[in-house]
Symmetry: C2
Subunit: 286 residues, 2 copies
Amino acid sequence: MSVSIVRTVAELRARIEQWRHAGYRVGLVPTMGALHDGHLSLVRLAKTRADRVVVTLFVNPKQFNNADDLAAYPRSEAEDAGKLGAVGADLLFAPGLDEMYPQGFSTTVSVAGVSEGLCGAFRPGHFDGVATVVTKLLLQSQPDVAVFGEKDFQQLAVIRRLVADLNMPVTIVGGPIVREDGGLAMSSRNLRLTRGGRAAAPRLSAALFDAAKRIAAGEDVDSVIAQTKADILAAGFTEVEYLELRDAETLAPVAKPGQAARLLVAAWLDGVRLIDNVPVSAQIYA
Amino acid sequence: MSVSIVRTVAELRARIEQWRHAGYRVGLVPTMGALHDGHLSLVRLAKTRADRVVVTLFVNPKQFNNADDLAAYPRSEAEDAGKLGAVGADLLFAPGLDEMYPQGFSTTVSVAGVSEGLCGAFRPGHFDGVATVVTKLLLQSQPDVAVFGEKDFQQLAVIRRLVADLNMPVTIVGGPIVREDGGLAMSSRNLRLTRGGRAAAPRLSAALFDAAKRIAAGEDVDSVIAQTKADILAAGFTEVEYLELRDAETLAPVAKPGQAARLLVAAWLDGVRLIDNVPVSAQIYA
């Protein structure tokens, strides 16, 4: 059975108010739809932390710096609602554009620091759009816990920062990346790859895991990164936007391992931008 | 008896949680201290709208564009606490700088539109600082209602906008300006005027009321404004930053009356910046 859908903040709040009244803990899983097993794993995770789980579906124009990317973003609400019903979500909040950004809307939430570099350098305004819409979604639903995927690792860091900075009374939980059999990180954008692209795409995660292993084993970070970029291009990717070792929490650049770090990549294949990241754990350096 | 004081968000939330448990409605009155009868009128207003009233005292460095103004801002916490006890406030939240902006703080809330022009033109960054700290105070305390003075009319418009835009579940109430016997709008900054300045200051509100009456009576807006600026300077003010007729809600410039409008002024006297505003009601034009 498909999950029940509401489209206004008033309806959303009325449902949540009933749950609150019954003493239920509420979990939130914000998405842009086109749901895959990665999203569904976040819903399952939310269900372990809350009695009732709301999923949101809103393709947020403010976080698209590229109009073509926004237009091409896959939309499949009816299918999404079916998947959410099957996995036990309790409510889908799928507001229209006017409900989220009515005429006169003028407010922007910006997070400095963690939003700089990486995707922030290549997608101007993207994290302002993310921070603004996530602030709204959290205030619309006021959940006890909200779950975001580690696939968008920098986004998760931005959200943790803004929730702490603005004193939002919610616990943020990161859900691990879910990968296809070949290792490719699940992403709604994978749907836009050609058959050839689908074949080449797993080379990104393979290169990333290999690089993380070599860095952890003590190889020179800069050399590993340069070689890995070349490998990714050789696999058929047209551009590597970045491949960087960063502090796992602050996302500050890490010149030399010795602390919990994360290796993050963004690269273009078939006109589709793919991102991925892997831990490079501190223990491995010891 | 002085009002009880807490200094951490955790203590604030523990108190409010008890009130919530008892079914009380909570009101919030944010201030920067140096309390006068204008502030106390806001506390009285909050008491008519809530069962328990929290006043906050935080001189927010992020909303001072001028370091001298910040350094010179009057501070009188013990006296403030006594006044709040007398007027029946239930709690004073007076956090330190590290409690509000701990190391690593990186988030800014910005409101476009209503924050532009007027004070926004002369105090760069001021309304970002206001929007950020008010968002924090509202999320720290999660009141049912929050009261702000109409003395800072543009600030009130910015706050109404951000609360609507971010879907904050709180009702914003504006409290009317409280004036001294001569008509001068009460302000913590009045304390910094010399004796001569105190004598000249009421000429600002007198000129403003007179201009509003003439505009409402149909006189040409531009001429009235030009003459009134000259009158304010003749009264001993050293600069009129702005004197403008604006839409009372959107704060958009109003070229010709015919809708609910507000006449707003900022002017310097004795090295002190004073602001004031008066309604120019639509009915008067009819």
